[in-house]
Symmetry: C2
Subunit: 370 residues, 2 copies
C-alpha cells in the first residue's frame, strides 16, 4: 500500500535548493511505501511543469535547469487547477518570501492542497490573512488542506511544534522571550561578547565582516530594521492566543541610523555606517560598566498583551548573553512550566536547517494523509 | 464529520491522574469534531469497564472510584479483544512502569490498537522487544497501530519528537549529552551549585530533603542507581541508530555506596547514607579546586558506539553546570547542526508535565487516524 503524493515547489534559492536535495534523498529512502512525484518547480520567471504528472528528475537539480528548459510559471489559479486535477493528494512547498503567493494560501487550502513553508509572510502579515488560512486549514478545524510552517521561526528548531503541543494539550503561554535572528545573534555575540575583554570592535566593522561572509541579507538593513524578528514574534504571539493586527502594530526598534534609512543602496549604507559607530559603542560600554551585554531581543507577555523587539541590556550570566555563533534561543514560560522556562536553542538559520524544518513538515502532512 | 475514538487507560498514579484530568478538558474543548470515549480505566488490582463502550465519566475522577465500583482488570488478551471489538479506532494509554504490560505492546499494535505511553520499559529493555514493537507499529513501516512515547525522556519536553524529525529528514546524530533525571539534577544543583560559595552540605542531607519533599522515588536508591538515566539514554541511542542490547550493556555508575545496595529498606538506606558523605564531599571539593562542578550526566557517541552514565566534572561555565532546579537538558549534536548543539532544556519530571507529553502523543495519533 503506497501513498501517492504530488508536490509543487516554488522558490529555488538557498532554502529551495537544499530542500530539493533533501527531498530527493527522502523519496529514495521511502520508495517502498511512498510514491512522491515533484510535478512543478518554479521561480519568479520560469518553471518546470510535468503536464502528465510524471516525476521531474531531482537528482543533481540546479536552478539553471529552469532557465534552460523552463516555461513561464503558472498563474496561481492555474497552479491550483493543475494540482487539484492530479488525481492524488498534493502539497505546495512555498520556499519564497513572497506575500503575493502567501496571500493565496487560503485558496490552495480550500482546494484541498496542503502547504509546507518557511515563508513568514502568510502568518505575520495582516491578521485577516492569518484568520483566513486557519479557517480553511484541515489541521485547525477547517475542511481544507493541512498547513505547516515550522521553519518560519528558528528554521528547523522545534519552536512552532512545541508551542502547538503546549496549547493543544491545554497549557497556557504566559511569556516568551528570545533571540530570533541568527544574523543579529551573530552580530552582537561578536560585537559585545559576554565576558569579553578584547578591545571593542566597531559595530560597522562587525556588520561588514558578516555581510562579506554572507551572514546578512544582501542589504544588511533588511536584518537591522528588526522586521524579521517582529514577524517571528507576531507568529508566536498569535499561536499564544493574542490578537496581533500586524508586525508593525507594536514597538520594533530599528538599528538603522535614521539618516541611512533612505540610503539608495546597500553600498551607500555600508559606506556611511561607520559614522554611527560611536552611538552603538556607547551603548555597549554603558552595559559593560553594569556587568551586562547588549542583545537584540524579542519578547511577549500574554497577560499585558505586550510585544517588544529591540536592544536590551542583560546580565552576563543570562542565558541569552551566553549565546554563541548565530544561535537562536527561545524561552517559553507557561502555566504548567511555571517559573522555569522550556528552552529551545541552536542554529536558527541556513539553507539546510531551514529546508530540514520544511521537510519535517512535509513528513507530518504525509503521515496525516489518508 | 466527527472521529470516533475509544481509549483505555492503565495506571492511575501521579501521571495517570493528571492525564485523565487533561484528557477530560481536551475532550470538552474538541467535542464538535471528536467523539472520544474512555471505556476502560485500570490499576493493578481493579478496573472500571464500560462494556457497552459508552464513555466513563472523567470529571473529578479519583482512583478511589476504582476500588468502590471496580472489578478485576481484564487480562491482556481480553483487553485486546475488548478494544478490537469496539467498532472504532482504539488507543491504549499505559501510564504504568510495568515491563509485563510493555512486553505485550507488539500484540496490541498488531491488533491495530494505538499506544501512547511514558513507560520507558518497552523501549529500553531487551532489544528484541524494541524490534518487535517497531516492526508492528504503523508509524515505522508496519501495518499495525501507531506508537508514541514522547514522555519516556524529559517528560513533555520535545526530545523524542526532535530526534525523530532529525533522523526522518536525513540528518545523522553524532553525539548526545545531557542531564536526564530531574531528581539527580536537583540533587547536584543543590549539593554543588555552580558558583556557590556556601559551606558544602552533606550529600545525605540533600537526599533527605529531596526525599521528604517527594522529589525522589519512595526508595531513593531507585534514582541513585542511575538506571532511569540508563534507560533514557538507551532509547535515545536506539533512535540514533545504535544497536543497544539492554540498559545494562554499557557503563552505568551507581551512586549507591556498595554496602548499602543490600540495605533491606529505604529507611535503613537513609539511616546509613551519612556514613558515606565524606566520599561524595571529596569529589565535589576536588572538582571545585579545578573550577568545576560534578553533575550526573548521560552521553552517547555514535561513531564510537559508546554510551556512558555517571558523574562528570564540568566547567562552571558549561551549560549543564548552569542548570537550575530539577531541569533536564539534552544537547543533540548532528551532522547538519555541526559543532553547535540543538539544545532542549526545562523541567523533565512531574505528573502534569509527563501527562502533557502523553496527551500530545494522543493528539498526534488522532491526527493520523482516518
Amino acid at each position: 500500500m503506497t501513498k501517492d503524493i504530488k508536490i509543487a515547489i516554488i522558490g529555488v534559492g538557498g532554502v529551495g535548493k537544499a530542500f530539493i536535495s533533501q527531498l530527493a534523498s527522502y523519496i529514495q529512502r521511502n520508495q517502498s511505501t511512498l510514491s512522491i512525484s515533484v510535478v512543478y518547480i518554479a521561480r519568479s520567471s520560469t518553471a518546470l511543469i510535468s503536464k502528465d504528472y510524471s516525476p521531474l528528475p531531482l537528482t543533481a537539480f540546479v536552478p539553471e535547469k529552469l532557465d534552460a528548459a523552463g516555461v513561464p510559471p503558472l498563474s496561481v489559479p492555474d497552479l491550483i487547477k493543475f494540482l487539484k486535477d492530479c488525481g492524488s493528494e498534493a502539497i505546495l512547498i512555498d520556499n519564497t518570501s513572497s506575500i503575493e503567493l502567501a496571500s493565496q494560501y487560503p485558496e490552495f487550502l480550500k482546494s484541498g492542497i496542503h502547504i509546507a513553508t518557511p515563508n513568514k509572510k502568510g502568518f505575520s502579515s495582516e491578521e485577516s490573512l492569518w484568520n483566513d488560512i486557519f479557517a480553511a486549514a484541515g489541521n485547525s478545524g477547517g475542511s481544507g488542506g493541512y498547513v505547516f510552517h515550522e521553519s518560519t521561526v528558528g528554521a528547523g528548531l522545534p519552536v512552532i511544534s512545541t508551542i502547538k503541543d503546549l496549547i493543544d494539550t491545554g497549557d497556557e503561554v504566559t511569556k516568551i522571550e528570545g533571540v530570533f535572528s541568527g544574523t543579529l545573534s551573530y552580530l552582537f555575540n561578536q560585537f559585545a561578547p559576554a565576558g569579553g575583554n578584547e578591545a571593542p570592535r566597531a559595530f560597522s566593522e562587525v556588520v561588514k565582516v558578516a555581510k562579506d561572509a554572507g551572514y546578512t541579507e544582501p542589504d544588511p538593513r533588511d536584518d537591522l530594521n528588526g522586521m524579521d524578528v517582529a514577524r517571528k514574534l507576531t507568529i508566536l504571539a498569535r499561536l499564544s492566543g493574542l490578537s496581533i493586527a500586524s508586525p508593525t502594530s507594536f514597538p520594533v526598534q530599528s538599528l538603522i541610523p535614521k539618516p541611512l534609512e533612505s540610503a539608495s543602496s546597500a553600498q551607500e549604507f555600508m559606506t556611511n555606517l561607520p559614522n554611527y559607530d560611536a552611538d552603538m559603542g556607547q551603548l555597549a560600554e554603558e552595559a559593560k560598566k553594569e556587568g551586562k551585554v547588549i542583545r537584540f531581543v524579542g519578547s511577549l507577555d500574554v497577560a499585558s498583551k505586550s510585544l517588544k523587539v529591540g536592544l536590551e541590556k542583560l546580565d552576563a550570566s543570562h542565558p541569552i548573553a551566553a549565546l554563541k555563533g548565530s544561535d537562536n534561543i527561545v524561552a517559553f514560560y507557561t502555566k504548567r512550566y511555571g517559573d522555569r522556562a522550556l528552552v529551545v536553542q541552536g542554529a536558527g538559520a541556513g539553507g539546510d536547517l531551514t529546508a530540514m524544518g520544511v521537510l519535517a513538515d512535509v513528513i507530518k502532512i504525509i503521515a496525516r494523509i489518508k
